[in-house]
Symmetry: C2
Subunit: 241 residues, 2 copies
DNA sequence: AGGCTTGCATTGTGATCGCAATTATCGACT
DNA sequence: AGTCGATAATTGCGATCACAATGCAAGCCT
């Protein structure tokens, strides 16, 4: 404790609640917060070293994006569990929106984007070799959204972001169990080739295939009974803000 | 003023921020808040007779759902304007998700649902005759979502709700200009027929056609230059909470 | 000794206060 | 009289306090 309180003088960078939001969001996407575990505003606030207020704001956003769920009786919030129905709908939505974004990004791709993707993909492969699931999750997210952002479709991009936010925790759990050996990375090469040649339909197919492979694994895991409240002694471990 | 403050004793019905959310949401869907006009937390709070705090919470949700926008420089919030790009993406998303929901609802339709739809549709026709745009907006929303809720697809339903929230203000503006004479209601009969016979593809087509007609009007209006900041002396006029 | 109740700690929610920044309004100066 | 600058008001953000409700656990009673 005994954190210095510099009165947060200048309205410098970004609002605190935004930083808190990003922290929790990143923790969810990379699966640092396990599904099913309950979190409290004050505990999160204490962990991040801020007052409960900006945490409240961030949590409101995340609840609105369905990345966090709030028990209507308890009012206590937790990471929602992923039922088979939810997974089916999320897969359907992803299969529609993400290939569409890739197809829209293809004509707008350039050398810099491909280089950036190449770098991310190499980091991803490295993570796979080492077996670093966290790093794989981050890199995979970065790869997909580096493409999607290029589509210049703000509304669709936001929808895709919301979908990732909802399945993120489970991707982590599933991939953490399956092991990093069988994770899909091969389709990324196809996607990069398609982008390089500005082949919209090729990019669409590559992303669709990439999604299918990943979601197949998740569906298998959920059907195997991983749907409910995994992660026993889940320490929250939010990244430091 | 001099509002009584009964200390909000019992944790009775729902939280205040939820009621505030519904008020603003309803105002947006029915177009009571015009796009482009700036609103402030404290003014909204004063109008609703609550403290700025629950309004903040409600606004956070709405911003997360992109029903409200917040100027990154000013930090001042307003109803986002609808650009041609935004409209195109919203239309695409609606055209994908809403027929899908209708198709899923069809096999689960029953007599009670059809009766309910019939009642809503009669109210809608009545509103058309009288020329009550507000009432038409409410009835139209009720009609569509009475169907969509039947699909039992929570994730997709939430996405559809978010989309309506984003175009709501503009539907109101556009339909308010076009007049209620040429509003699409005929497709509703097709939809009800399809639901009555549990014809999934028929329901899908009917909703798709209904959307097309409505969106055509909006696109025409936006291209005609209604995209930016309509409603001059827009009084906010939130429904009473 | 077991089931139930009472007490305390924790939680979410709302209100109020303080602060920095932006906006609006009005006065002064050329 | 028109434009610029300074003061006052408003705004969003964050912190702290207050309160009702819930969760948890120890203690009591039979």
């Amino acid at each position: 404790m005994a954190e210095q309180k510099p009165r947060r003088s200048l309205a410098d960078s970004r609002a605190v609640h935004d930083q808190v939001y990003d922290s929790i969001r990143q923790a969810l996407i990379t699966g640092k917060i396990a599904p099913g575990v309950g979190v409290s505003l004050r505990s999160l606030a204490a962990e991040l070293g801020v007052s409960p207020m900006p945490v409240r704001d961030a949590v409101r956003r995340l609840v609105a994006e369905r990345a966090l769920a709030i028990n209507p009786a308890n009012k206590r919030l937790s990471v929602p569990s992923l039922s088979a129905e939810r997974l089916e709908q999320l897969e359907l939505a992803r299969q529609w929106i993400e290939p569409e974004l890739a197809a829209r990004a293809a004509p707008r791709a350039d050398e810099a984007l491909v280089r950036k993707l190449k770098a991310i993909d190499q980091d991803l492969e490295e993570a796979l070799r080492v077996g670093d699931v966290d790093r794989y999750m981050v890199a995979n997210h970065a790869f997909h959204f580096a493409i999607y952002e290029r589509a210049g479709a703000e509304v669709l991009l936001a929808m895709a972001g919301g979908l990732w936010l909802q399945i993120g925790p489970f991707m982590r759990v599933v991939f953490g169990r399956v092991g990093t050996g069988s994770l899909p990375a091969d389709r990324h090469a196809e996607a990069m080739d398609a982008l390089k040649t500005r082949d919209a339909e090729g990019a669409r197919r590559a992303i669709a295939a990439d999604l299918s492979e990943g979601m197949d694994k998740m569906r298998a895991a959920v059907e195997a009974g991983a749907g409910l409240t995994v992660a026993p002694a889940g320490q929250t471990v939010i990244t430091v803000l």
